[in-house]
């Protein structure tokens, strides 16, 4: 049983790639998630939204992947937004002060606005 799932879609205007991540982004999942995220960020999307609405657990290994993605996005000129409403995920972002490095939105609608 997979405890971490990734689904990629395009927004209605086809300018934004939406990567929906669900489950646990932990030390068992973060290593294999990075190549997929890296490929997406290196593509031609103007913006990438990481929709973590269904993400239930995030640890420091997963956070490192998100921070690495933010650095890569900045380097290639892609806007990266993170949707993170789950309290357990917000807790990690707050503990690490990651709000300074990540563009965190409370909902997918706001991330796509």
């Amino acid at each position: 049983m997979e405890r971490f799932n990734v689904t990629t879609t395009l927004s209605a205007d086809r300018h934004t790639a939406v990567l929906a991540i669900a489950g646990d982004l932990d030390l068992g999942a973060s290593e294999r998630f990075w190549p997929r995220l890296e490929r997406l960020l290196a593509g031609s999307s103007e913006a990438v939204v990481l929709d973590a609405t269904s993400l239930e657990f995030l640890d420091s290994s997963g956070l490192r992947v998100l921070l690495r993605a933010a650095r890569l996005a900045e380097g290639v000129g892609t806007a990266l937004r993170l949707v993170a409403p789950h309290p357990a995920v917000r807790r990690v972002l707050d503990l690490a002060g990651a709000g300074r490095c990540l563009d965190v939105r409370p909902s997918l609608d706001e991330a796509l606005a």
């Binding site: 405890r3 646990d24 932990d26 030390l27 068992g28 290593e31 657990f57 640890d59 420091s60 290994s61 956070l63 490192r64 309290p87 357990a88 807790r91 990690v92 503990l95 690490a96």
Partner: protein, 169 residues
């Protein structure tokens, strides 16, 4: 937060609160009042393979124990994350041996006013957690006490989480 890094010169394994933890694990048949205060009300041991895919089992144990102890949702969430990060201190360390042949031993000891969690594994000489890393820093914010000890070839991370009020059951 404490950081107690020691060498391998001392004989016998004990956590950072060694005598207390040892006393709890080897309870006399009829402890006197002072000793009884040092004994955990409940203990859970779980050993998982030293493999990233098995850390979820330690997290699940933490969540279940938090529910049994009637901890609030915030404390349970923090405990789950803290146990995960404690395991990660070993598993993500570049000097930690690969493979599931060795195990991570997780001990949860609940006292009236606090929960003490130790994660222990064999480590190579000189092994120490990255105390400047984000994992250690997060751990320090999640728990009331954090300590590292290396002794007899084993490394032990000890987490102490105090309860806001004494538990009623």
């Amino acid at each position: 937060m404490r950081d107690e890094t020691t060498g391998d010169e001392d004989a016998g394994f004990a956590g950072s609160d060694g005598p207390r933890a040892a006393g709890a694990a080897q309870a006399p048949e009829k402890p006197d009042q002072d000793d009884a205060a040092l004994l955990p009300e409940s203990e859970v041991f779980i050993e998982i393979p030293a493999d990233r895919l098995f850390v979820v089992l330690a997290r699940s144990a933490a969540v279940h124990l938090g529910a049994v102890l009637h901890l609030g949702i915030t404390d349970v969430t923090d405990l789950r994350l803290a146990v995960d990060e404690a395991c990660a201190l070993f598993l993500l360390h570049p000097a930690f041996p690969d493979g599931g042949a060795i195990g991570l031993a997780c001990r949860f000891a609940a006292y009236r006013d606090e929960l003490r969690v130790t994660v222990r594994a064999p480590v190579p000489p000189g092994f120490a957690p990255d105390t400047d890393g984000i994992g250690w820093i997060m751990l320090g914010a999640l728990v009331d006490g954090l300590a590292w000890e290396r002794q007899d070839g084993f490394g032990t991370v000890t987490l102490t989480k105090r309860f806001e009020r004494p538990r009623t059951s």
